[in-house]
Subunit: 402 residues, 2 copies
C-alpha cells in the first residue's frame, strides 16, 4: 500500500497549532481558555477541509466523521495542554490523526478528547464518549486552578445545551492514538516507535500521621510526638522495601508532603503525603498495596503517631489490543526495520477509556531527554515524520484488516 503521507504538511500543521497559546518553545493552552477554544475551532476547520463532517459536542470534543458507509477506524488524542507545557503532548496525536484521514481518504474518523490534561476533571471527553460521564459530574466539576465551574466554561465556549456525542455501536473496528513517549526509553535505546502493550494503573493514596503540635524548644525529644518525623520514617521504609517488591517497570512517587502548621519552631501535629504507584500488572499492584498498608500499620502500631491511609484512586490497567499492536509493529518494521519496541505506558491516556468499548492501541514517538509537561518538551522532526508514516500505515492496515 502506498500512502501520500506529507511530512511538510504534518510539521506545518503542528507548528500552526503551537501558535494557539505560545509559551517559550511550548504552549500554555488550558482547557477552554480562549486559546484552547480557538484551537478547537481551527482544528474543526482542518477536519472539514479534509472532507470530514466536523463538529464540537457538548463536552468540547471535536469530531471529524467520515461520511459514507464501510468500516471505520477512530483516531485522535487531545488538543489542550498542561499549563506552560510542551507543543506536542496531545497535538502530535491530533495532527497524525488528521494526516491519516487525509492520506487514507476513507474510513478514518478523528476525535479530539476534551480535557485529557485534567484542568476540570479526569478524562471527561473520552469518558463522555464512552458513556462514563454523568450530567451530575459535569454539574460538580470546576477548574482546579481558578474554580470556574465546568458549566460556565462550556457556556463561554458556546457549548451550553449542545448534545454530547456517544460511541455509535458497531461503527468502529478500533481506536489508534499516537503520542509522545514522555519518557526516555526510546531515546536511550535508540529506537523510534513504542508499541504500547498496556496503559498502567495508577493507585493513589493519602497517608496521614497525627502527632502532638508543640513548642520546638521546650518539648524534649523523648516526649515528642512529631507527625512529620513519623512520616519521614515511613517514607524511609517505603524507600527500602518497594524495590524488592516492584516489577521492572513499576514507579512510585511522593508528590506532596504537608506538615502542619508548617512553622519553623512548632513540632508538626499533623503530617500527610500524597503517594502513588503505577504498574500494568495487577499482581504487582496488589503486592505494593499490601506492603504500603503493612508499613503504615506497623508505623502506627509502633507509635508514637497513629497513621491513616486513604485510597484516592485505584484505576485498572488497560490492555491494548494485540491485533492493532501487531499492525503498528509491522508498519514500523516495514518503514524502518528494527525501530520499534513494545512497552507499557506509564502515563494515563484517553485510549484507556476507549479500550473499554473497542479494540484500542497506542503508538509512541521519542521524547528528547524524556522531558514532558514542561515547555522544553520536544521530538526531532525526523522522528515526528517517521511516526506519522508509521501511524498512517498502521491505521490503513487496520482498515484493510477490518
Amino acid at each position: 500500500m502506498r500512502l501520500s503521507v506529507d511530512p511538510n504538511r504534518v510539521l506545518s500543521d503542528l507548528r500552526e497549532l503551537a501558535r494557539f497559546g505560545p509559551y517559550k518553545t511550548g504552549v500554555h493552552r488550558p482547557t477552554f481558555s480562549d486559546e484552547d477554544v480557538a484551537a478547537r475551532r481551527w482544528f474543526a476547520g482542518k477536519l472539514s477541509e479534509a472532507g470530514l463532517d466536523s463538529s464540537i459536542d457538548g463536552i468540547g470534543n471535536v469530531y471529524g466523521l467520515c461520511p459514507g458507509p464501510g468500516p471505520k477506524i477512530l483516531t485522535g488524542s487531545h488538543l489542550e495542554s498542561q499549563n506552560h507545557a510542551g507543543w506536542l503532548d496531545g497535538a502530535l496525536g491530533m495532527v497524525f490523526a488528521l494526516e491519516a484521514a487525509r492520506a487514507i481518504g476513507r474510513g478514518v474518523d478523528v476525535a479530539a478528547w476534551c480535557d485529557e490534561e485534567g484542568h476540570f476533571g479526569s478524562f471527561i471527553g473520552s469518558r463522555s464518549f464512552t458513556g462514563l460521564l454523568e450530567e451530575a459530574e459535569i454539574d460538580r466539576l470546576a477548574n482546579r486552578y481558578d474554580g470556574t465551574p465546568l458549566r460556565d466554561a462550556l457556556a463561554r465556549a458556546g457549548l451550553a445545551g449542545v448534545a454530547r456525542r456517544q460511541v455509535e455501536p458497531g461503527r468502529y473496528r478500533g481506536f489508534v492514538e499516537a503520542h509522545i513517549e514522555q519518557g526516555a526509553n526510546l531515546e536511550q535505546s535508540g529506537l523510534k516507535i513504542g508499541v504500547v502493550t498496556a496503559i498502567v494503573a495508577i493507585w493513589q493514596y493519602r497517608v496521614s500521621a497525627t502527632g502532638e503540635q508543640n513548642h520546638a524548644g521546650t518539648t524534649s525529644m523523648a516526649r515528642r510526638r512529631d507527625a512529620g518525623l513519623a512520616l519521614v520514617r515511613l517514607l524511609g521504609e517505603i524507600d527500602r522495601r518497594f524495590p524488592d517488591l516492584a516489577g521492572p517497570a513499576s514507579v512510585w512517587t511522593t508528590g506532596r508532603i504537608t506538615l502542619e502548621p508548617g512553622a519553623p519552631s512548632i513540632i508538626p501535629g499533623k503530617a500527610s503525603m500524597l503517594f502513588q504507584f503505577r504498574d500494568a500488572n495487577p499482581a504487582v499492584l496488589d503486592r505494593l498495596d499490601a506492603e504500603l498498608r503493612r508499613l503504615v500499620a506497623e508505623a502506627s502500631a509502633h507509635g508514637p503517631c497513629p497513621m491513616e491511609i486513604e485510597v484516592l484512586g485505584q484505576s485498572r490497567p488497560a490492555l491494548m489490543d494485540e491485533g492493532l499492536q501487531s499492525l503498528i509493529a509491522a508498519a514500523a518494521e516495514r518503514l524502518r526495520p528494527g525501530c520499534s519496541v513494545r512497552m507499557p505506558s506509564g502515563a494515563g491516556h484517553d485510549a484507556q477509556y476507549l479500550a473499554r468499548v473497542m479494540p484500542a492501541a497506542m503508538m509512541f514517538v521519542p521524547s528528547i531527554g524524556g522531558i514532558s509537561h514542561h515547555w522544553s518538551e520536544n521530538t526531532a522532526d525526523e522522528d515526528i515524520v517517521l511516526g506519522a508514516e508509521v501511524y498512517c500505515h498502521a491505521v490503513a492496515a487496520a482498515l484493510e484488516a477490518a
Copy 2:
C-alpha cells in the same frame, strides 16, 4: 523578710487580663490588635495604681518606673499572645512583675516587652530597649500574617512619633522574668520552680535539593532525580546520626517540608525544608552544625540531587546570672523546700537580650501537660501562687543584695 504578696490579687489580675481577646479558655491577642492595645493601656493603668510612673514608648513597650533614688530591679515579660493561644504565656510574668512592685513597694521597675511573640519581628521590644533595633528595621517590618506595616500598626496604636526608651546606664542591678515552662519537665518531676541556667541558642537552616521535575508515570525509577526523595533520605540520616551527637537537652525539628510543584503525578524538581536545633552548649551546637553540613555535603556528592544549606539564624546561648539564679533557688527553697530545679530554657525569651546589658534571670512555673502556644495552655492556681511568692521574694532579695 515578710512580703505582702496577695494570691487573690495575682489570680484576679491574670483573669482580668485574659478578658482582652478571649478565645476558648485562652486568648487571641496579637501584637497591636485592638485587644492588645487595650490590654497595654489597662496594664499601664495598673502600674500607675501601684505608684509607678507608667508610659508606653514608641515601640509599644509598657513601662512602670519606680520614682525616687536607690537601686532598681527590672521585672517583666510580655502582654501579647500567639494567635489563639494560652492565657499565661507572657501574662503570668507581667502580673508577677506588677505584684512584685506592689508587694515590695520600692525599687521595682516593670516593663512589658512588645511583640515577644514575633507577629512583626524578632523581639523588637527588648531589642529596642537594649539598643539593638534600628529605625530602618522598623521601617521594613510588617505583620507576618496580614502584611500590615509595623509603622502603620504603631500609628494606629497612637505611638507614631513617640520616643523609644532605652536602658538607662547604671539604673539596674538586674532583670528577672517569670514565665510558664512551656514544657513538661517540672510536671513530670513533680517540681514547682525552674531556675533557668541559660536560654538556648536556636540555629536555623533551610536545606534545599534540586532534582528534575518530571512525569511520575513515564520516568523510570532509575532515571529519576527526585528532590523530595533526596530530602527524605537526608532526614533519615539526621534521624540516625543526631542522637549520638546531641547533648541531653538538645532538640531538633523539621517544621516544614515543601515539594515543588507539589502535585500527585509530578516528580518533585525542588524540595526544601526548615530545620533547626537548640542547645545551650556552644560545643554541642558546633557539633550538630558540622554533622548537618557533612550529611548535606555527602548527600549532595552521592547524588543525584545537589543540595544547598542556608543558615537562617544562629543565635548565641544567653547565660543567666549565677547570683540571681541562687537568689531564686534560695527563695524557692525557703517557701517550699526541694521544689526547684535548674534547667535551660528551650524557648527564646526577652531575657536573652536583657542579659546583654545587665545580669538577667528567669524563673519557670509548671505547664499542665507541657502544653503551650495553644488555647488549652494552663497552670494550676496553687502553682501560680507559689510562683508569685517565689518571684517576689527573689526580686526583693536581689534588691537587698544590690
